[in-house]
Amino acid sequence: MTEIYLRLVDRVLTPLIVVLAISLFLRGHDYPGGGFIAGLTFAAAIELTILARGAAPVRRQIGRYLLPLAGFGLLLGVTAPLLGIYTGGFFKSIWVKFDLLGVTVKVGTPQLFDLGVMLVVIGMSLTYLLNLSERGKEQESPVFAGHR
């Protein structure tokens, strides 16, 4: 049975950490932050949910999407450098600047790459965390002892 306080903390804190993760991601490139940190922070938010509510419901909800998410991130991560070939070479960055509601927004392939990194990190670290959280509960099966 999980703790009532932990569930409360989860309800309040998890969305906040997710927002923090997204802001860390958007800050990346020019300031401290970026895809890797953002991915880990995001995974930490979900880990809080795992602690508060147990691994099983989290696995039911998002378990099957984790690996494909990492795959999609990897795909983004390889697409971004390949786009660079258009401007001269693999990994050459392309930046686009435009005004959105009076704010200059800078978007480029390095951000796409970073997004890929973030998705890979989220997918892989959550797979790992879920795996370990479940393993503690698993019934021990001494295979070799039962064998012959």
Binding site: L67, P68, G71, L74, L75, L82, I85, G89, F90, F91
Partner: protein
């Protein structure tokens, strides 16, 4: 004939497998019954494209071309350099070919569980890591690609998750991780001393480093790469893990993993430490001899097909190191002849060892066991496999007219010419032992009466499955025979690769190092180096 290629092509040996592996992982989202055929299809496309790129590079480099490309177009020592010459292209081509040939084998033999757990994407990631390690021109990047390769191999090794696999994987992971740590340390010391990680610039500056530091870096690299290649004192991870995964995985590993380690030795030693390669020749020859002997003697004690063959992998690595040790000794056949033979031997070994492992794997899959004393009499059930296995076994032992004969003949010729009688004698002796071991293996599997009442599963399997299992063995054996018959042609090609690999000046020129901003052009880069050297 002058050809020209856009250097960006060097991105594709890494980008193609990675992109298709990523796509394959995305398809994990679908139901396994649909995802797996999709992943197989994607893997097929990726492998064909990869082989096509490798073939283009092979043709280009064998006509004397070299390519270098800077990631993101950052000038040379600052960005990551990617470099390809004939040695690189040969490795890319044969690893790509092996992976493509193993695809039907894997499709026919893998169980549903392993396929669902993502065998195909992981095999592509393994290929990407290997290709990256071949083409990179940056020491730290080499470490990163090694880790990619190892991560994929960890997953492939543990795929299926049986106790024996988990057990083998832990040994494999731990011992390989130690090797990677040493490689990282070597990269760190290189950067600390020479102020660069670009391999061309390392080659340029290495003569300026203190001899002790050079020796330290060389030693660390020898242990790290030697560990990956399973050289004598650091080979223990191989026989304790290679027999545990699915036969298709073992075959893939034998063609890729140890060979990447050997390639790195071929690449870095003539480039960074041409003097040490001569000074350390006795050490390298002793290591080579011991690797051969220990491998082949270990093979005699092994009770199963794949355990026996994994010890032979170690034994054969010794021959390649022997070629490297005499690479720079002037011989009547020209400088670099030893390396040329070693490269040829490496290719031969990739082909033949994979053929043996797919052939042996087919036996294991169909008979349900790989224990030698439970097999026997298969020659009447599977005559074609018996013949192919026989040729592959004798190619490994070094009989004409196979590729093994050319490789061993060249190695013995060059060691005789440079008066290395002892190692030549050892290698001949080991060949004899290999022959005995191979005869023993063949006899146990194929000769005599069937040991048990166990029937081959092939009686129930459709004939297409049969053909898919047999294809890689057949193609590889034919290739081995072709290399053996057209031995001089093959040796000419590897001679080009060897002379490119030992030509340090051309490597540095191809990479096209830019001067460091802030340092005057009149000031050689030694100035930068000097400040580092004098720092306490």
């Amino acid at each position: 004939m002058e050809m020209s290629l856009p250097p960006t092509i060097l991105a594709f040996p890494v980008a193609i497998p990675l992109a298709f592996a990523a796509l394959g992982i995305v398809f994990q989202l679908m139901r396994p019954t649909r995802a797996v055929p999709m992943q197989q299809f994607l893997a097929g496309i990726a492998l064909v494209c990869n082989l096509a790129v490798a073939s283009v590079l092979l043709v280009f480099t064998l006509s004397g071309g070299r390519l270098a490309f800077q990631m993101g177009l950052w000038p040379a020592p600052f960005g990551i350099t990617v470099y390809a010459d004939a040695l690189t292209a040969i490795m890319l081509f044969f690893v790509g070919l092996l992976s493509l040939l193993l695809l039907p084998f894997a499709m026919a033999s893998l169980d549903a569980r392993r396929e669902r757990q993502g065998f195909y994407p992981m095999a592509l990631v393994l290929l990407m890591g290997a290709n990256g390690a071949f083409i990179t021109g940056d020491l730290f990047n080499l470490y990163v690609f090694y880790e990619v390769l190892l991560m994929a191999s960890f997953v492939l090794l543990a795929l299926g998750g049986t106790p024996s696999q988990i057990n083998g994987s832990i040994r494999y992971v731990v011992l390989n991780l130690m090797g990677s740590i040493l490689l990282l340390l070597a990269a760190g010391i290189t950067y600390g001393t020479l102020g660069t990680l670009n391999m061309a610039q390392i080659a340029e500056r290495m003569p300026l480093a203190p001899p002790a530091v050079t020796a330290l870096i060389a030693g660390l690299l020898l242990v790290a790469f030697g560990g990956k290649a399973a050289l004598f004192p650091v080979f223990f991870w191989l026989p304790s893990s290679y027999h545990t995964p699915h036969p298709a995985v073992t075959a893939l590993f034998s063609g890729v993993l140890t060979k990447v380690g050997m390639y790195s030795l071929f690449r870095t030693f003539p480039l960074f430490f041409p003097d040490l390669l001569i000074a350390w020749q006795p050490l390298l020859l002793v290591l080579a001899g011991l690797t051969m002997l220990v491998g082949v003697l270990g093979a005699f004690a092994q009770p199963t097909i794949r355990r026996l063959l994994s010890f032979h992998i170690i034994s054969q690595i010794g021959y390649m190191l022997m070629g490297l040790a005499v690479a720079l000794i002037p011989s009547p056949f020209g400088v670099g002849f030893g390396l040329a033979v070693a490269i040829l031997f490496l290719v031969h070994n990739q082909l033949v060892k994979t053929a043996l492992l797919t052939g042996g794997g087919q036996v294991e899959i169909e008979m349900g066991t790989g224990k030698l004393n439970e097999l026997g009499g298969l020659v009447s059930q599977k005559p074609l496999l018996a013949v192919l296995f026989f040729i592959a076994a004798f190619s490994l032992a070094g009989f004409p007219p196979t590729s093994g004969f050319i490789g061993k003949l060249g190695l013995i010729e060059v060691t005789f010419a440079t008066d290395k009688w002892l190692i030549a004698g050892v290698s001949i002796f080991v060949s004899l032992l290999t022959t005995m071991s191979m005869i023993r293996l063949w006899q146990y599997i194929f000769w005599g009466k069937p040991h048990t009442q166990r029937r081959s599963r092939s009686e129930y399997a459709p004939s297409t499955t049969q053909a898919m299992l047999l294809t890689p063995t057949a193609v590889l054996v034919v290739l081995s025979l072709l290399i053996g018959i057209f031995g001089q042609r093959a040796l000419d090609a590897t001679q080009i690769a060897a002379s490119q690999a030992i030509d340090r000046k051309a490597y540095i020129e191809t990479v096209n190092l830019q001067p460091t901003p802030g340092v005057q052009a009149s000031e050689p880069s030694a100035a930068v180096l000097g400040t580092r050297m004098s720092a306490p």
